[in-house]
């Protein structure tokens, strides 16, 4: 498992390649990349907690699906529209587990990893409010899995 919380950008293709080469029984890598939409922003996080909370989410996914390896990268600091924010890539033997685990990790990350977005809007900077839809997305995994 690779978890990184960093200012720097990441290279999707290099990360997926590294994951797929780890084990010859890997038959699928599902990946998700989150992108900054429309407004520049600053992403704050809780450094001592961020990595450990993401690792716990990945472990939870590993207990539900066959996850052979996983890479999660989340950026912080100043980001512009179209910048990459987050990468979740999950390697498994088959696509079903890879897709499900990837979506689960994203949904949990949205509601449990300590990041906060502050948008730089023309009328002034504004903290983004949490969306109930994100809580609902995480809730629907309750009791699901293999």
């Amino acid at each position: 498992m690779k978890v990184s919380v960093q200012r720097e950008d990441f290279d999707l293709s290099a990360e997926v390649k590294a994951l797929s080469k780890k084990d010859t029984s890997i038959g699928a890598v599902a990946s998700f990349v989150g992108i900054v939409r429309e407004v520049a922003m600053m992403l704050e996080h809780y450094p001592q907690m961020t990595e450990s909370s993401i690792k716990r989410i990945v472990e939870e996914a590993q207990s539900r699906w066959q996850v052979m390896d996983c890479t999660v990268i989340h950026r912080y600091g100043e980001l512009k529209p179209s910048d990459q924010i987050v990468l979740v890539a999950v390697a498994s033997a088959h696509r079903g587990d890879a897709f499900a685990a990837c979506e689960f990790i994203m949904d949990y990350l949205k509601t449990r990893a300590p990041f906060w977005k502050k948008e730089h809007r023309p009328e002034g900077a504004r903290w983004v409010e949490a969306r109930a839809a994100d809580d609902d997305a995480a809730e629907r995994w309750a009791g699901k899995g293999r």
């Binding site: 704050e44 809780y46 924010i85 987050v86």
Partner: protein, 85 residues
């Protein structure tokens, strides 16, 4: 007992502080009691920790519910609902 408090994002700006160590009065040994205690520290705190304010808590980097115990030396972080990803 002494604990370390951390505040993040909008809450940090609202209170004008990111981190501090405080001595807690006897009997303040749960997250709920600590929030009540912080509310008594003036207008900014009263507003930040009001009933309708959405404040999440982590004790020693673990998200917890208001009933969670706190002990001497703990790191207690308060923050708004998270908005990463």
């Amino acid at each position: 007992m002494k604990v370390k408090l951390l505040f993040f994002a909008g809450l940090r700006e609202q209170l004008g502080t990111a981190a501090e160590e405080i001595e807690l009065p006897a009997g303040v040994n749960t997250v709920a009691a600590l929030r009540l205690h912080l509310k008594s520290r003036g207008e900014a705190y009263e507003k930040a920790f009001s009933e309708k304010a959405l404040v999440r808590t982590a004790v020693n980097q673990d998200m917890v519910q208001p009933g969670a115990r706190i002990k001497a030396g703990d790191e207690v972080a308060f923050f708004p609902p998270v908005t990463g990803g």
